[in-house]
Structures are given as structure tokens and as C-alpha cells.
Subunit: 222 residues, 2 copies
Amino acid sequence: MERHLDEELEHLNQELLKMGAYAEEAIYKSVEALKSRDKAMAQGVIDGDSRIDQLELTIDEKCIDLIARYQPMAKDLRFITTGIKINAELERIADIAVDIAQRTLEIVDKPLLKPLVNIPRLATIAQKMIKMAIDSFVNGDSELARKVLLSDSEVDNLRNVIQKALVEDYMVKDSSTAPRAVQLLLIARFLERICDHTTNIAEDVVYMVRAEVVRHHPEKLK
Amino acid sequence: MERHLDEELEHLNQELLKMGAYAEEAIYKSVEALKSRDKAMAQGVIDGDSRIDQLELTIDEKCIDLIARYQPMAKDLRFITTGIKINAELERIADIAVDIAQRTLEIVDKPLLKPLVNIPRLATIAQKMIKMAIDSFVNGDSELARKVLLSDSEVDNLRNVIQKALVEDYMVKDSSTAPRAVQLLLIARFLERICDHTTNIAEDVVYMVRAEVVRHHPEKLK
């Protein structure tokens, strides 16, 4: 039975990695659609969300089923309950990619306000953070999770730069740009929110690993 | 042992109700501070967040401990794992109240752009939704949870009204209002996000109740 649970947990890892990959892809495509004015790609992100919702339910059921069937103790139990929380965060992240795709559809027919540099940069950071956060969970690597947390100030800075430029260089100087500038500002905020969810995942991993350390190796706390 | 778990679950309910009350209070105070230009109140929301973070950890530990000690099956297990997710959502909601308080501190020294009507209205809806969502969990009341889900379109409409007014009546007409209008727009978005988290809670409750119905009373699905 013990080995069987290990196999099940390995399968759970694979499912969460898949969920993470779906979320990364949704972010990439939503911002790529914005950059390249590609309506079909934006629509694809919106249509693809049901696949992610379905996988979330499957993983959630899997986690509850594993707890009920194996009654795992300590480390494994904490791994599974953390998996439940991470799964929910990834679903939220994919939802936000849908929000970005919807904003994109709203402005795609209007002239581009400016060449997009910092928004795609923010999207790339978000994708990297998701990958690191999931890897940190799968490997129980709290150091890697801490690196995700360190990215947070870079994200805040970049979002501030984007917001300041949109308000001061566009809205204030030429009020006719406001409707489009607001949409870009919201997209930057959506990306920041994705990073916040990723930070939640990393915090959950740090907490999962530390709680384990505290319970079984109190000497490591010194 | 059975009765003991019931008592523990009742205690978990009380803790989650307390968490919900804290979150509601943080939202109320963050928007009240904005309305009444009260810096101390805004700062109080920011300072009070550590209390909510601490309660989140306590509840999370409690849930894992209950699973480990009682190895609950089916209904009780699903109740506890749903509690873990709801607890996380409430902590995020309180974090967003902190975001609102921070925006408030940024604009509190500048002249009020306009009398605030719809933003406080949105905050009131958010508070009601939280209360209903937690009550629906505590009572396993999926009908009440569905009512929370129905509020979502009201929230979206109100947020659209707020955003449209800020962009069209302020930013576009007088570009010098843009920096303040953007802050109000972000606050409206933060409140919408709080409602999204509350919707997540209600969806979790519907799912919790339905999964139970499906497992034990398949005839109810017809």
C-alpha cells in the first residue's frame, strides 16, 4: 500500500505540472494575442478555459480520494492538502488569462497605443514564476519557492513603471488615449494578480516544507 | 470519537465565521476610510492584517490536524477540505482590503474627485456576499450559495458603471483627473476581485454539497 500511495502522489505531481503548463500557456497566448492583434488566439484562450476547469475538478477529486483511501499521515497528508490549494490557485490564474484575453478583444480593433514592451516582460516573469512555483512543490524545494517570493518586488516595480507611463505619458497628456490606456493598465494589473497567485503557491510550499521540518526535525529550526 | 469530531467541526465553523467577520470588517473600514478621508482608519486595516494571517494559519493547521486525527470519511472529509480552500480565499479577501487601504492612503490628501456612491455600494454588496457565502458553508446550504453566484452579474454591472463614468466623465473630459480617477478605478476593481473570491467560496460550497448528494443519493440528481 505504501508504494501504491507513492505512485499516486507521483501521478498527482504530473497532473499539477500539466495544470501549471496549461496556465502558463494561457498567459502566454493571452499576451501574444494582445501583441500581435490576434483575435482568434484571444478567443482560443477563452474557449480553452473549460479544459482547465475540468482538470481542476479532476485533481480536486483525486486529492480527496487519496486522503479517504490511504488516510496518509503527516508529510503525505500535508503534501495533498497543499496540492488542493495549489490546484485552486492555478485555476484562478487561468481565469485571469481569460480576463486578459477579453480585454484584448476589446482593444484589438483600435490602433495600438504604443509598442508593447513591459507588459510582455511582465507576462514572461509570471510564466517563469509559475514554473518555479510548481517545481518547488513537486520537489519540496523551499529554496526555489523563496526565489519565487523574491520576484514579487520586481513585479511590483514593473507594474508601477507601466502604470506611471500609462497615466502620465498618455492619459494626462492626451485624454483621448484614456479608454485604451485603461485597458492596458488593467492588463498589467491582471498580470500582477497572476504573480500574486503564484506567490501564494510559493508561500504554501514554504509552509508545507517548514511545517514538516518543525514536526520531525525540531533541531533544524535552530 | 464521533461526537468529538462533530464538536471539532462546530469549532471549525466558528473559526471560519470569525475569519469571515474579520474580512467583512476590513472591507468596510477600507472603504469607509476612503469615504471619510480617514488615514488612521486606512492604516488600521493595514496593521490589522497580521491578525487575519495568523488566524488563517491556525485554521489551516486545525484542518490538517482534524484529518490526521479523525481520518474522517466522505462528508466530513469534504467539509474539511472545503474549509481549507475557503480559509485561503478569506485571507486573500483581507489582503485586497489592505490594497484598498493603500490606494486610499495615496489619494486621501488630494481633493475628492466626486461624491462616492457606487464604490461604497459595491463594498456593501461584497460584505453581504461574504456573509452569505460563509453561512452557506456552515449550513451546507447550496441554495444560499447559488444566491451568491447570482450576485456576480450585479457586481459586474456596477463595476462597469463605475469604470465607464471614471473614464468618460473624468479622464477623457479633464485629463488632470486621471491620476485620481485611476486610483478609484483600481479600488472598484479590487472590490470586484473580492466578489470573485466570494464567488469561489460559493462554488466550493455548491460543489461540496453536490458531490455529497451524488455519492450518497444518486436519485437526487434526476
